[in-house]
């Protein structure tokens, strides 16, 4: 069938080249077979029917749109509510928080009452403070040096991991992109396997490795496994493989070495995914809990993320301010690299 159509097209093309136009005989349809008066009537009827259908479709799409907007607004509200809640409640006084939510925290094991008990009254969720107060912030920033020390612990663990992992990932991805031999593909496959493994699976080997290297209970126990994580290698490799080979070949013809190709050709093309990875890695490692919890026994070395789960123990009045301050660095990093993040995600297909 396809052959016939192709033959027909070929013939028409030959005729066209010779400026010969042969009118194609159109097959007779139901409408064309009708007499003109009936045809008009038929067309009118169809037009009216189509108009009704169109109207229905419009109404349906409007209703769907309204429901969609309501659903998405609800979802957005649910997503953004805790953040608003945290920020607004951080300006409540400690006594107000205790009055509103004390019942929730008292019911938890390890509370100040040192015992669990049933919640016999509902907590009062309040967005607007009765009296705006900066007590929580002054208490946590001026009277709790350990909070600041742990803040720095978080920064000093996260920043080296992000920088180290990106450095390693860029070079590893370049090698995977440039030399696609069988053995390297097998190695890359292992990278993918490692990436797919949940963190908890590699936790024990990591622990044993750290113990062997005698770096347990030091920041290196968290930083080194983080630096050699495989996720960004996979993403950057996938991205780099989409860079046209012609660029690299042109650079080779111009006499560029591997380092020059890497720094002058490949990396400038990878700015967006590297920035996106940096943001994602920062947010990921800023919130890490298991690694420091297992690798760092000394509480003084653990980052803030470990303590946020326990921040309501003892003095619940500080929980909201502690969380609000904790959110600032990821928020700033995200705001700084928002454009690169969107661009990087769209280019490299990061989910």
């Amino acid at each position: 069938m396809e052959e016939n159509i192709r033959e027909e097209r070929r013939k028409q093309a030959i005729l066209a080249r010779h400026h010969i136009y042969k009118e194609k005989v159109q097959p007779q349809s139901y409408v064309s077979s009708l007499p003109p008066s009936e045809r008009e009537e038929f067309i009118e009827k169809q037009r009216a029917a189509n108009a009704v259908k169109l109207r229905r479709r419009k109404v349906k799409s409007s209703i769907a749109k309204v429901f969609g907007v309501i659903f998405l607004s609800g979802a957005a509200f649910i997503a953004i509510m805790p953040i608003f809640f945290t920020f607004l409640n951080s300006f409540m006084s400690s006594s107000e928080i205790e009055g509103n939510y004390g019942v929730v925290f008292q019911s938890l094991p390890g509370s100040t009452n040192e015992a669990s008990r049933f919640i016999d009254e509902a907590p009062q969720l309040q967005l607007i403070p009765q009296e705006v107060s900066a007590d929580q912030y002054s208490e946590i920033l001026l009277k709790n040096p350990s909070y600041l020390f742990r803040y720095w612990n978080s920064i000093l663990l996260t920043v080296p991991i992000v920088i180290g992992q990106l450095a390693v990932a860029c070079m590893a991805s370049y090698s995977f992109m440039r030399y696609r031999k069988k053995r390297r593909e097998v190695l890359f496959f292992f990278y993918i396997i490692l990436m797919l493994m949940p963190f908890q699976v590699t936790l024990v080997p990591n622990y044993i490795m750290n113990q062997t290297l005698n770096i347990l209970d030091t920041p290196w126990a968290v930083i080194l496994p983080g630096v050699f994580s495989t996720f960004s290698v996979y993403i950057l490799t996938k991205y780099m493989r989409r860079i046209p080979k012609a660029y690299i070949e042109a650079a080779i013809i111009d006499g560029a070495g591997e380092w020059q190709i890497f720094t002058k050709v490949v990396m400038p093309n990878c700015k967006a995914p590297v920035a996106a990875m940096a943001i994602l890695l920062f947010i990921d490692y800023w919130n890490m809990v298991e690694q420091p919890l297992v690798m760092l026994q000394d509480e003084g070395m653990q980052p803030l993320s470990v303590f946020l789960s326990k921040v309501n123990v003892g003095d619940i009045g500080l929980a909201f301010a502690a969380c609000a301050l904790y959110m600032i660095p990821p928020l700033l990093i995200f705001l700084r690299g928002e454009d690169q993040l969107v661009e990087g995600i769209s280019q490299s297909g990061i989910k």
Partner: protein, 396 residues
């Protein structure tokens, strides 16, 4: 791709400011915390026996003593004795300066006044006599007007009166006629006598054999009739100490009970009388004790101790940990709260009753304080519920 990218340089600035702020805050974090949170010393409360000893401090006083005073207005030339010197009867204690030029001037003025007063008195008497003579002569002349002798007598009497009046007016010309002249003369005479007597004193002597104490005389001082220059305590006198004990403590004391003291010299201190203290008769008692000693030093502070039986108490705290205000006695309990940022400590006021004290430790009762940390010392005034840091907080 062709979308316009927003200017994000402000975010970079915010990040730099945030990190700088965080750095500064961290650097000064301990300093700021130390400014806001006072350092305290706490100790876990415990029970135990308290051998509480009541004590009171008072001075050794002689039963009899001579207060040495001196006549008014003399200047001390030499003080020959010091506190606790032994003196014999009539031994010179201090010497006074001989009358001064000023003193002599005052005395001479007084004598001149006396002389004037006496002259005035004499001429006043002569005036009265002349008046009487004149009156009599006039009377006689009235009866026998032709008698020339009477006329002469009247004239003589008049002349005598005018002379006496002139003399009187010469004497009283400056100050007028003195009223109560006789009394005044007596007073001036007495004053002169006293002054001469006073000015004749040149030494102050001891009235008895004994010990000199409370020497308040210093070279160059002017004497005063009321001022005690020193005290001479006769050798044969007894010595006593009067302690002020609480009524509950004094319950165990009877006349003859011996009280231990901290004085090396006191050999025996025996209760003589127990009387209510007039200032607080219900709660306090004055315990007067007779003292026997190798050597006595009047005015020496002696502390008397009355030991009482030992008792066991549930809560014993350092006496410095018990505070007092209008609502009564209280202690500060340091509540420890475990938080992810380390242990935090807050003080909580707990009203207590003081059961007994030995000065160092105090037995208290109140709410259940078992195994609580009690505040012993604080570097700043505290309020109920205030956050504090223990002295070894930094180490934690």
């Amino acid at each position: 791709m062709s979308e316009k990218t927003k200017n994000r340089s402000w975010v970079t600035k915010v990040i730099i400011v945030f990190v700088a702020f965080l750095l500064l805050l961290t650097f000064f974090s301990n300093t700021i915390m130390n400014l806001f949170i006072p350092k305290v010393v706490g100790k876990r409360i415990g029970g135990g026996a308290l051998s509480f000893t009541d004590k009171a401090t008072s001075q050794i006083e002689p039963v009899t003593s001579y207060e040495i005073k001196c006549a008014e207005g003399r200047k001390i030339e030499t003080v020959l004795v010091e506190d606790y010197d032994q003196v014999k009867k009539d031994q010179v204690l201090l010497k006074l300066k001989y009358r001064s030029v000023e003193d002599q001037g005052v005395l001479e003025d007084l004598k001149k006044d006396l002389n004037d007063l006496e002259k005035e008195s004499y001429y006043a008497a002569r005036v009265s006599q002349a008046k009487a003579r004149l009156k009599l002569a006039k009377k006689q002349l009235k009866k026998n007007k032709k008698n020339a002798a009477f006329k002469t007598e009247v004239n003589d009497a008049k002349a005598s009166l005018s002379l006496a009046q002139k003399m009187l007016s010469d004497v009283t010309g400056f100050r007028g006629v003195t009223k109560n002249r006789k009394k005044k003369i007596e007073e001036v005479k007495k004053l002169i006598g006293e002054m001469e007597k006073r000015f004749d004193i040149e030494e102050v002597k001891s009235p008895a054999d004994g010990m000199v104490y409370y020497v308040q005389a210093f070279v160059g001082d002017n004497t005063n009739e009321k001022t005690v220059l020193m005290v001479v305590i006769p050798n044969e006198t007894e010595y006593t100490i009067t302690f002020n004990f609480s009524s509950s403590t004094a319950e165990s004391l009877d006349p003859g009970t011996e009280i231990s003291t901290d004085s090396h010299w006191v050999e025996e201190c025996t209760v003589k009388t127990v009387k209510p203290d007039p200032k607080d008769p219900r709660n306090m008692k004055l315990v007067k004790c007779k003292v026997k000693a190798e050597m006595f030093f009047p005015g020496e502070n002696v502390t008397g101790y009355i030991g009482r039986s030992n008792s066991n108490y549930d809560y014993l705290v350092s006496s410095g940990a018990v505070f007092k205000d209008n609502n009564g006695s209280f202690v500060y309990v340091i509540d420890e709260t475990k938080s992810p940022f380390g242990n935090t400590y807050k003080v909580r006021r707990v009203d207590v009753s003081v059961l007994a004290t030995d000065g160092v430790y105090t037995a208290i009762s109140g709410e259940d304080l078992k195994s609580k940390i009690i505040l012993i010392r604080s570097e700043a005034a505290l309020e109920d519920g205030q956050r504090v840091r223990l002295e070894d907080y930094g180490a934690k």
